[in-house]
Amino acid sequence: MASLLEVHDLSVAYGGVKAVTGASFYVAAGELVCLIGANGAGKSSLLKALTGMVHVSHGTTKFQGKAITHLASHDIVARGIALVPEGRGVFSRMTVEENLAMGAYTRQDQAEIAADLAQIFELFPRLFERRRQAAGTLSGGEQQMLAIGRALMSRPKLLLLDEPSMGLAPLMVQKIFETLRAVSKKGVTIFLVEQNAKLALEISHRGYVMESGKIILTDTSAALAINPEVRRAYLGE
């Protein structure tokens, strides 16, 4: 199967300190792949490198067979990659509707944008109720829904998520993960970065494990979930 995203030997450094060292992985079309690892393992830096938010010091990133390694964020996004950033990153002084409209910034097809907006509201009725409210007034969980909805508004070929469970109540985390599973079933390819290894392995097809900036392990999620090493380090056994 042809890979949608192919990352080869990627390194990221902040002023000499290496955050990611020689990471190689791929995500095939239609897959839901997760990357698990402890806080500070370099997961967020990896996502930022993929989306042009930090400089890639070494290695290559290919999307649909074409190099995107050193492109600016807006060029990468235009090719069909959307990121739900860490901490959600909603535009707090803009309304829910305006935030969603920003998600469709690169699109011109007004009729289909409206149809997608209706779908997002169907997926998250809470957002519909609060569509004229400033995003900053939403609860953490609602902001996460908004961030996911906003990313989907770009009709991404690949959806990247950075710690969507962070800071949310367990019930809300459940809801967010169910939504991700539903989005994946609709055919959107997902690469999920998550500290909550249990849930991430539950909903994903394959997984990668990151430690101190390096990818140390990869397997199907079912296999990772019973791997003794993973169980000890990330599943609290």
Partner: protein, 309 residues
């Protein structure tokens, strides 16, 4: 009562010009958190370019109504200032985007001095007078008078401000500008080209400055290579008064500052028993600046200082 009404009219006219210039400061600050101290000089260049064109047309004895000649000057000044604003950002500020904040601030002051000196070389040190080609009609309003030029300045400023608000609040482009101001990196993730938005912000601000520059020189009847300095400082004061980074704040601050200054100039003689005259007008703007900085540093409509979402 007559003095009050007259000074109110004068203040609103002057204030609407301050507001146009203040918008340029506040838009750039909103996106880059940079105080573009060269912005006053952009206003001055606008006045100079317009006066050059107007002077040439008048000198050539072109048979056109005065208002058309002035309009030609404005239409020359706007693209000239847009190009200048774009160039300043591209050459002086963009390379310092990730530098400590003091670096672009000092650079801004440098650009300001550079432009003053360039203007002095090109247009000389002398005052350049605005040819008396505009209609001089005045209307009586209560006990006060208002000139056609004053009405024109006030109305045009308000129209431009309304257009700017509509652009920022109602259009896709405006939404991208607001998103960039709130969270530039996330705006990039939405597909917004941040650099284009920043360039555009400078271009729009400079166009407003061009119009303001022509207005000021027409109103006072003169232009001078140093005129941008004081005008820029006052517009900056207006932006701080309204809450820097806030569009409505810049408009409110501009109008308010114009009225305060004008009232101050109108009554200072009475208050001090003739000891101080209206030549102390400029004192009020900076008195206001000090008061705001001490009592309410975030300005009238500003909500955040130092920290951003």
């Amino acid at each position: 009562m007559d003095t009050f009404l007259q000074q109110l009219i004068n203040g609103l006219v002057l204030g609407s010009v301050y507001a146009l210039v203040a918008l340029g400061y506040t838009m750039v600050y909103g996106i880059l958190e940079l105080i573009n101290f060269a912005h006053g000089e952009v206003t001055m260049i606008g006045a100079m370019v317009a006066l050059t064109v107007i002077g040439a047309l008048v000198g050539a004895h072109v048979d056109l109504p005065g208002i058309v000649i002035v309009l030609a000057g404005v239409l020359a000044a706007i693209p000239a200032c847009m190009l200048l604003g774009f160039t300043i950002e591209r050459v002086a500020y963009r390379p310092l985007r990730n530098a400590p904040r003091l670096a672009p601030l000092i650079t801004a002051i440098g650009v300001s001095i550079l432009l003053q000196n360039l203007a002095m070389i090109i247009w000389g040190r002398q005052y350049i007078s605005f040819p008396p080609i505009l209609p001089r009609t005045t209307y009586h309003l209560g006990g006060a008078t208002i000139s056609v030029l004053q009405i024109f300045i006030l109305v045009l400023s308000l129209v431009i401000m309304a257009a700017l608000v509509a652009l920022v609040q109602k259009t896709k482009l405006g939404r991208a500008m607001r998103a960039t101001a709130q969270a530039p990196q996330v705006a990039g993730l939405m597909g917004v080209n941040i650099n284009s938005i920043i360039s555009l912000t400078f271009i729009i601000g400079s166009a407003l400055a061009a119009v303001a520059g022509v207005m000021v020189s027409a109103y006072y009847g003169v232009a001078h290579y140093y005129m941008g300095f004081l005008l820029g400082l006052k517009a900056f004061t207006a932006a701080v008064l309204g809450g820097i980074g806030n569009l409505a704040g810049a408009m409110l601050g501009g109008l308010l500052l114009g009225v305060i200054e004008s009232m101050g100039a109108g009554y200072i003689g009475d208050i001090t028993g003739g000891f101080m005259g209206s030549n102390y007008q400029d004192v009020f703007a900076f008195f206001v600046l000090i008061l705001v900085l001490v009592l309410r540093p975030s300005g009238l409509l500003g909500e955040r200082v130092g920290e951003r979402a």
